[in-house]
């Protein structure tokens, strides 16, 4: 049983979210401003918080900072602001993930599930030889398996090789040409497009929203990389 707090000043949105997250495993709490959210967070043991940023009384940012003082519960920001700056601000203030309004219900449920799994498995993940991690993304070179939030993802051998190369060097940008040489062991004569197509497919399998990747990032005009850290 997971305790999930939904906090937004729009009742309609809270209700919609409640419908999406209708699940026997979830117990839902609701709050309509930051102060209420803070109150509920103090009185209950929460496993996840979905929180809007722009709210009366106390805004999401402040509430998040207050909650972070005594808890590391996962927080997903719901924001109408799609500016990059706001996302960065939210993430540095202590949010674990963000969803921009208007949101896609599938994305919401997926992100909630992902955060819950990661939070509950925290500590169980033992450092093992040949296992590469990036957030919820896990590549087990021993079993030749790729898992996202603990669930196995089926990849083609080429895709697996590409992902493995990137995960072995987190933060390093590989150009399509380089990737082609490394994976295909051949000189790329106009075959970089193949790499780009594979990466796109890989993103569709690994990421919740391939247009906004969290792990496998596209550095436009340079290449591809796996996000470092987390």
């Amino acid at each position: 049983m997971y305790n999930i707090l939904i906090c937004d000043d729009e009742r309609d949105i809270v209700n919609a979210l409640k419908i999406y997250l209708r699940d026997p495993n979830y117990q839902l709490f609701e709050a309509y401003d930051g102060a209420q959210a803070l109150q509920i967070a103090r009185e209950n043991t929460l496993h996840l918080i979905l929180m809007d940023v722009m709210m009366p009384n106390m805004d999401g940012m402040e509430a998040m900072e207050r909650i972070r003082e005594h808890s590391n519960v996962p927080i997903i920001m719901l924001t109408a602001k799609s500016e990059d700056n706001d996302k960065i601000l939210g993430l540095t203030a202590g949010a674990d993930d963000y969803i921009t309004k208007p949101f896609n219900p599938i994305e919401v449920t997926a992100r909630v599930k992902s955060q819950l799994r990661r939070y509950m498995q925290l500590g169980s993940g033992v450092e093992q030889q040949g296992i590469y991690r990036c957030g919820a993304l896990e590549l087990d070179d021993g079993q030749k398996q790729v898992r996202v939030d603990g669930e196995e993802v089926a990849l083609t051998p080429t895709e697996y090789e590409i992902l493995k190369l990137l995960m072995q060097h987190p933060g390093i940008v590989f150009s399509p040409k380089e990737l082609y040489q490394r994976i295909w062991n051949d000189l790329p004569y106009g075959s970089e497009n193949t790499v780009a197509v594979h990466i796109r497919h890989l993103r569709e399998k690994v990421e919740i929203n391939p247009a906004e990747p969290r792990y496998l990032k596209v550095v436009w005009g340079q290449g591809y990389k796996i996000e470092k850290g987390k």
Binding site: S175, Y189, I199, Q222
Partner: protein, 678 residues
């Protein structure tokens, strides 16, 4: 009129009485002007007449008193005083008689003596220290003729003895002494009242009333003085009229009036005396006194009138304004002012360089004069003094120039709110400083207004889109919920699908709108960096290949082997490519080829997207670049027409060019960027 005013007052007093309690006495406003003596013309006329009377009395009494004092009436007896008065007569006659006797002119002498019933004797005192008089000539033959006569002696100075030398008579031989003595005998018993008798008689009267004279003088003077002050005080006032009324002489300017008055007094005095002298000769001394008195009275009256006029003008205020002198001075002053203005204006019109040249030449000339005109030590001193005055001025000029220069520099650097302190500057420098301030103010205002409007525009769109997003979220959410419900109702499913699709379109439109506004106003953060267009193009192909293939579109890309670097912001450049690819995906003819090419041309990098349009392009390339332009005018396809506009703005933000070429069904977009140096 006064009656009515009074009744008005009564009525006004009555009204509050009726309204309020009777214990409160009504306030009576005293409107009626009191009758005053000073406002009454008759009183003034009377006062003037009384003034004249008093003045006449005072003058007559005063003259009498003076005569009385002169003849010693207040200290001696009557006889002495009469003789004193007769002595004056004796002198008058003696001065006429003496030359006639000396030159032996008998006829005039005889007529004078007989007309005035006189006898005369001439003598001298031989011993200068005093002694007996030696008589040398007499008009009578026997002393008996002198009965009833009174005599008086006149001592007449004879400085020139030569006159006696030339005298025809031998009587003056052995004449010594400086004074001739003329003894005049007055016949007081003569039947006709001659002058001597008149004098004697009037002296008697004067003696008799000598104390009364003092009284009359004092009384007259007092009366005149009182009237004088009353007239001065009352002049200009008139009953029934507020303030000071101008007199009839108002038209004459005051200094002209003064000249006229003085002229009148003087001319009457001169002409009168001349006329009297011609008419009566020197004999009529009593008449002379009377006339002098009349003249003094005339002067007093004229003076009074003059003073009254003056008082009137003083009371009116600013009396000096109505004078010729003032007018002339004012005129001169105005003329000077205008002249100075003209000089100043022409000096301003002359360029600063010429003024500087003139001033320098002037100073040089002064120095030259100093050098030529003085000896060497003086030249040194003169030179020092000149420099002493000149140096601070030069320093001041340099200081001002530096300030202005600094202000100009600040302006050039874009600090449009910098202000020059022109308080301590002069002339052209001050003007220049103020001009600079005006420029900076103008620029500042324009920049401010523009910034504000740009910011407002973007803020408005951002805020509005934000506010729309919240309800839109609910719409999308609930539409999705409905579409996911298994109702078994086909129509409901269809309708909810439309809702979901259209609300998602709205969402995309909002996002594009915000982006378009930001891109077109440049209100977007651009992080320029090295970027390989070849890689980006490869990535774009990779992103879209699957979707293109689904539509039967084949991508043919020509990308050089070696990297093609430009300076750009990767994310924004991706948005450009993304939009263009999206555009192709939407509008390209199915089962056709899409050509992408990358080329380097003369230091520029050229990216070309080419595809065949699904619909006839009945719209010009320029129109397509505009916001909300759509390939199909019916607008029933997905998309909002912002894609190309955003792509163009973003390209231009990264210093690239964006060109759409439409050739039949061929749709071509050409992007060019400056190639990165390495």
């Amino acid at each position: 009129m006064e009656e009515r005013e009074f009744t008005d007052c009564e009525e006004m007093g009555e009204q509050p009485k009726q309204q309020e309690s009777e214990t409160v006495p009504p306030v009576r406003i005293q409107k009626k002007r009191k009758f005053t003596l000073r406002g009454c013309f008759l009183a003034k006329l009377l006062a003037f007449l009384m003034f004249m009377l008093g003045a006449a009395a005072a003058i007559a009494g005063g003259v009498c008193c003076i005569i009385a004092i002169d003849s010693g009436m207040y200290r001696n007896d009557y006889e002495f005083s009469a003789m004193e008065l007769l002595r004056g007569e004796a002198y008058r006659f003696g001065e006429q008689i003496l030359p006639w006797v000396i030159y032996d002119e008998k006829e005039p002498l005889e007529s004078l003596l007989s007309n005035n019933a006189l006898e005369a004797e001439l003598g001298y005192i031989p011993d200068p220290d005093g002694g007996e008089v030696e008589w040398v000539w007499s008009s009578y033959s026997h002393p008996k003729e002198l009965e009833g006569h009174k005599y008086a002696d006149a001592y007449i100075y004879l400085p020139d003895k030569d006159t006696l030398e030339n005298a025809s008579s031998k009587k003056f031989e052995g004449w010594r002494g400086e004074y001739a003595i003329v003894r005049v005998y007055f016949d007081l018993t003569f039947p006709v009242h001659n002058q001597a008798w008149q004098i004697y008689e009037s002296a008697r009267l004067l003696y008799l009333y000598r104390y009364e004279c003092i009284g009359v003088t004092l009384l007259g003077a007092g009366l005149a003085l009182i009237m004088f002050f009353f007239l001065l005080g009352s002049v200009g006032h008139r009953n029934g009229k507020e303030g000071i009324q101008p007199s009839a002489f108002r038209v004459i300017s005051f200094d002209l009036l003064t000249v006229l008055t003085a002229g009148a007094v003087l001319s009457v005095g001169l002409v009168g005396s001349e006329l009297i002298y011609n008419a009566f000769g020197a004999e009529e001394s009593l008449l002379e006194i009377v006339l002098i008195c009349a003249y003094i009275l005339f002067c007093a009256v004229i003076g009074m009138l003059y003073l009254m006029e003056f008082a009137n003008r003083v009371k009116e205020g600013r009396w000096w304004r109505h004078t010729i002198v003032y007018s002339v001075l004012t005129f001169c002053f105005r003329l000077l002012k205008r002249l100075a203005g003209v000089v100043f204006q022409s000096a301003r019109r002359v360029s600063m360089i010429r003024v500087t040249l003139l001033v320098t030449l002037g100073i040089t000339f002064c120095e030259f004069v100093g050098i030529v005109g003085f000896d060497r030590d003086a030249v040194a001193v003169f030179w020092l003094i000149e420099k002493f005055f000149l140096l601070p001025f030069i320093f001041y000029l340099a200081y001002c120039c530096k300030k202005l220069f600094y202000a100009g520099k600040q302006l050039a650097e874009g600090k449009e709110n910098y202000r020059v302190d022109t308080a301590r500057m002069i002339g052209s420098l001050k003007e220049h400083g103020e001009n600079l301030n005006n420029i900076s103010e103008g620029i500042g205002k324009a920049v401010d207004a523009r910034m504000r409007s740009e910011r407002l525009k973007t803020e408005l769109i951002t805020n509005v889109s934000h506010d729309i997003k919240t309800p839109l979220t609910s719409i999308i959410n609930y539409a999705t919920l409905i579409s996911e419900m298994e109702t078994g109702n086909e129509q409901l499913d269809e309708y909810s699908d439309v809702l979901v699709r259209q609300s998602n379109r709205l969402k995309k439109l909002l996002e594009d709108l915000v982006e378009a506004s930001k891109a077109s106003t440049g209100n977007l953060e651009v992080q320029m960096g090295r970027c390989d267009v070849g890689v980006l193009l490869t990535q774009a192909v990779g992103e879209y290949e699957t979707r293109m293939t689904e539509k039967g579109l084949e991508i043919r890309s020509t990308i050089p082997e070696e990297p093609v670097f430009i300076q750009a912001d990767g994310r924004h450049l991706w948005r450009v490519f993304d939009n263009l690819m999206n555009n192709i995906l939407k509008y390209a003819q199915e089962n056709s080829r899409v050509y992408l090419s990358l080329d380097r041309k003369e230091g520029r990098v050229e990216v070309i997207f080419r595809n065949m349009s699904k619909y006839p392009l009945d719209i010009s390339a320029e129109e397509l670049e505009e916001r909300f332009a759509r390939g199909d005018k019916s607008r029933h396809l997905e998309g909002n027409g912002l894609g190309l506009s955003i792509a163009k703005s973003l390209t231009e933000l990264q210093k690239g060019t964006f060109e759409i070429i439409v050739d039949g069904d061929l749709f071509k977009v050409v992007l060019t960027f400056p190639a990165d140096a390495e």
